[in-house]
């Protein structure tokens, strides 16, 4: 699980072009949106595409994203349980 969390942090930094954020700056329980990393709605869509492309998880209900993308912890837990690739 720890390996997956590191992988997710690296993907978040690289794919969301977070120039001023390093992987080690992100704590597992940091809020990804709002006052945390400050991701926006387009970032949320990118994360949905990433779940589909990299882990074979299709989110059919966008409302699910709110809980899944709360932090790296919640993302890793959801991916571990639902990934198909």
């Amino acid at each position: 699980m720890e390996e997956l969390k590191q992988e997710l942090k690296a993907k978040i930094v690289e794919q969301l072009n977070l120039e001023d954020v390093a992987v080690e700056d992100i704590a597992n329980d940091d809020m990804l949106f709002g006052d945390g990393l400050g991701l926006d709605s387009i970032d949320a869509l990118e994360l949905i595409v990433m779940l589909d492309r990299d882990y074979g998880i299709k989110l059919t209900d966008p409302k699910q994203g709110r809980a899944i993308f709360e932090s790296v912890d919640t993302m890793a837990a959801y991916i571990s349980e639902h990934k198909t690739k």
Partner: protein, 206 residues
């Protein structure tokens, strides 16, 4: 031709060099590619706007040129924001369109990127500038075969004379493959440079 209006200042980004009016504000000696050059310029000029790195190359080009110019003017953000934006180029958003096409090329690997897709219109760069500088005024983006000083001159004059704006930010922001070229200028009632098509063309070409 005489003009009632003037060019307050202008900024150019081309050939790894950024100039504001007559002076060079940033230059990179080596032949670095555009992403490396614009990132170095962003840091050197202390732009401090993290969303910059989420923009496509056309928006980075337009945003940085405008940011340099408007910061230099030291305008009051609350009272001096009735600034119209009239930009133009030849390639529209073609470079980003190509990037989007790559993400949808293969039906077996069809994952369009929302972050790329949102930049598949050239006028998105005006939106980025308007957000940063709190501009709520008129804006337009025109596509021409070449730099069209006459059109920019007429359009800016029309906006000022019809009191649609107090100032007009005009220019050419082109990004296509390895070629980039930005020339942005601010038109106002006051200023030292006469606002005429000849002057605009001369500033663009020098």
């Amino acid at each position: 031709m005489t003009s009632k209006h003037h060019i307050l200042s202008y900024c150019k980004i081309r050939n790894n060099t950024i100039t504001l009016n007559e002076g060079v504000v940033f230059h990179e000696e080596d032949n670095s590619d555009f992403p490396t050059f614009i990132k170095s310029a962003y840091h050197h000029l202390e732009t401090a706007y993290p969303k910059f790195f989420k923009m496509d190359d056309l928006s980075k080009l337009a945003f940085l040129a405008t940011d340099i110019l408007l910061k230099n003017e030291q305008l009051d953000e609350q009272n001096d924001n009735n600034i119209a934006v009239v930009f133009s180029n030849r390639a529209s958003s073609l470079e980003t369109d190509r990037a989007h096409q790559k993400t949808i090329q293969n039906s077996e690997n069809y994952y369009p990127s929302p972050a790329i897709f949102v930049y598949t219109l050239p006028n998105i760069c005006i939106g980025e500038i308007s957000i940063k500088h709190k501009l709520y005024s008129e804006n337009s983006f025109f596509i021409f075969d070449n730099f069209n000083a006459d059109h920019l001159f007429d359009y800016a004059n029309s906006l000022l004379e019809d009191r649609k704006a107090d100032k007009v930010l005009c220019g050419w922001v082109e990004f296509d493959a390895n070629h980039y070229d930005a020339f942005i200028y601010l038109v106002d009632k006051n200023g030292s440079i006469e606002h005429t098509p000849q002057t605009i063309l001369k500033l663009y070409n020098t």
